[in-house]
Amino acid sequence: MRHIISILIENEAGALSRVAGLFSARGYNIESLTVAVTEDASLSRMTIVTSGSENIIEQINKQLNKLVDVVKVADITEGAHIERELMMVKVDAKEAASRDELQRLADIFKGRIIDVSDNIFTVELTGEGEKLDSFLKALNDVLIIETVRSGATGIARGKKALQI
């Protein structure tokens, strides 16, 4: 099953490699990994999307907690949560028809065209992974030049929070 693991980790050089190394050494799978500093500059928040049996997810949790730099770990898929991913898609829009089509699709998916240079449009879209997938599918007639996705990040709903 797919799980979203949130990690609070010391904002230190090498912390990311400890987590990445753990996953590769123990053969756990990483679908995506995002990391950035939190409001407390000494801490980074990492989000890993992974999958595995209940036993494997339990071990991932324990092994992450065992890393000395890791402050806290939570599997946010255990409870109600919100998940988002950011995508930017660069498309070739030389034809007027494809520009209209692109604008229409972006509106439907609540995306925005954030850059136009030399008939090349860049669309920004945020949502759950499936929505981003659907957008890419819907674009099938338009020439995609480049896609970049941030990987999923997420947060628990309500009072539940990952904090020290």
Binding site: A13, E58, Q59, K66, V68, D69, V70
Partner: protein, 580 residues
Amino acid sequence: MKLSGGEIVIQSLKDEGVEYVFGYPGGAVLHIYDAIYNQSDVEHILVRHEQGATHAADGYARSTGKPGVVLVTSGPGATNAITGIATAHLDSIPLVVITGQVTSAFIGSDAFQEVDSVGISRPCVKHNFLVKRAEDIAETMKKAFHIATTGRPGPVVVDIPKDITDPSIKIDYEYPKEVSIRSYNPTVQGNQRQIKKAVELILAAKRPMIYSGGGVVLSNASEELTAFTQQLGFPITQTLMGLGAYPASGKESLGMLGMHGTYEANMAMHDCDTLIAIGARFDDRVTGELEQFCPHAKIIHIDIDPSSIAKNVQVDVPIVGDVKHVLVDMSKELKLSKTKPDAKALEKWWKQINTWASGNCLRYDRNSALIKPQFVVEELHKVTNGDAFITSDVGQHQMFTAQFYPFEKPRRWINSGGLGTMGFGLPAALGVQLAHKDAVVACVTGEASIQMCIQELSTALQYNLPVKIIMLNNRYMGMVRQWQEFFYESRYSQSYLKALPDFVKLAESYGHVGMQIDKPADVNGALTEAFAMKDKLVFMDFVTDQTENVYPMIAAGKGHHEMHLQAECIPVQSSDRELA
């Protein structure tokens, strides 16, 4: 106090109460070595290879419970140390390994003798640090010792660039009294509700079994384990790493379990209805085929490392905590309980176990004209009154020692159980002898293993370490040969050692005493003579039977009830039928 970075490294060791640092100098650590030169509180032991330094520090740590300290240079110094670091990591041994690093400005430039020591060591340490400022050395050292020695112990690497040890830059030094790391708080006390649950299970057991491991030794919980076991009268088996925590002569002891464990221990594991795992990690060499592991048992697992629990085997009552604390609490809880163990069921269970034990699975041909390796180990036990520190290398001789040298005390059996590192025995013995100057220390080894760190014979001479080397020489990599005989139709691919040195002359050229023994009748006399030379390292080359195998044996992928026994032993029988 104002000190240079190099002096701070050494002063930190003094303030930590370190007696010995095992090391080898090189460019990146010369400032630190200069600081060593100017003091006498911390004694430096110069090894001949950095692997030897880590194993010696490891032997020191295993035999004392104190952290072992290593100092090596950057690049090859650090990479040579890796095998020893990984060895300590897999057996949870506290080490602090200081590696020199190239000058900060050169890091990442493929400088001379540069490797990413933090990156290379990351998967085989408990934690590691790259120190960036001289001001951070003292606190990092404190953290390193704290992390290495608390919780589930392990090696910690501290990588120090040369420029921050510069003798011309002096800074204020104060060694921190305490250190707190917000992300690191090992659980010590067991959860009381879980302990109550465990005690209920224990008291309801009809066929109980205690399975204890190296965690008991690491936690210094030998007394508590002994009290707990005797209080219940339950059978106990110990892992390779746990031997000695419960005295082998204790009437509850069934010896070692696992791949080369005793028939009675493994059969009791297979048939028990309640398993109490204490400071053990369900290693594959212990469990055999997981599908068939303890098929009838409810399992209680006590371990300080939460990730050990349910890693290989699902358990019914996990208890996270320091084994010593948990055992004290369990014993208290047992005393308070009105229920008593089921004496009738226990009697029946012991009767069954004694039947299994009556086959005497640890048998060998005592009338052989050739020296049997088991015989040498038994004679070693006699000559040392069973009271020596025994280190070993890896292979058949290691298993023979575990089987035929009954250990009565913890920290007496020093071997690389997890990583299985050939070359461990001799340097480890040197570390043990340094820590216990007047004790009898012997290294049981083979002619293949000993050659992997033989250069440390030179270190032994330099520091007058009179360890006794008991080499069981069968001219084969014995365990490899055994597997090839069993599983590769006796195709002995690359396992025969041609062109062996004359070990007697070799020992003599290093300034030691060498002996070769090739007749069973001479074994006891030679051992007696060797151990009488109290101030000499004696290298004993026992020419043994080439074809002897380690029995009993569970082949990989088989269950505990499917042991290979020697032909003349009792037949293998699963007791599943009787249970049904």
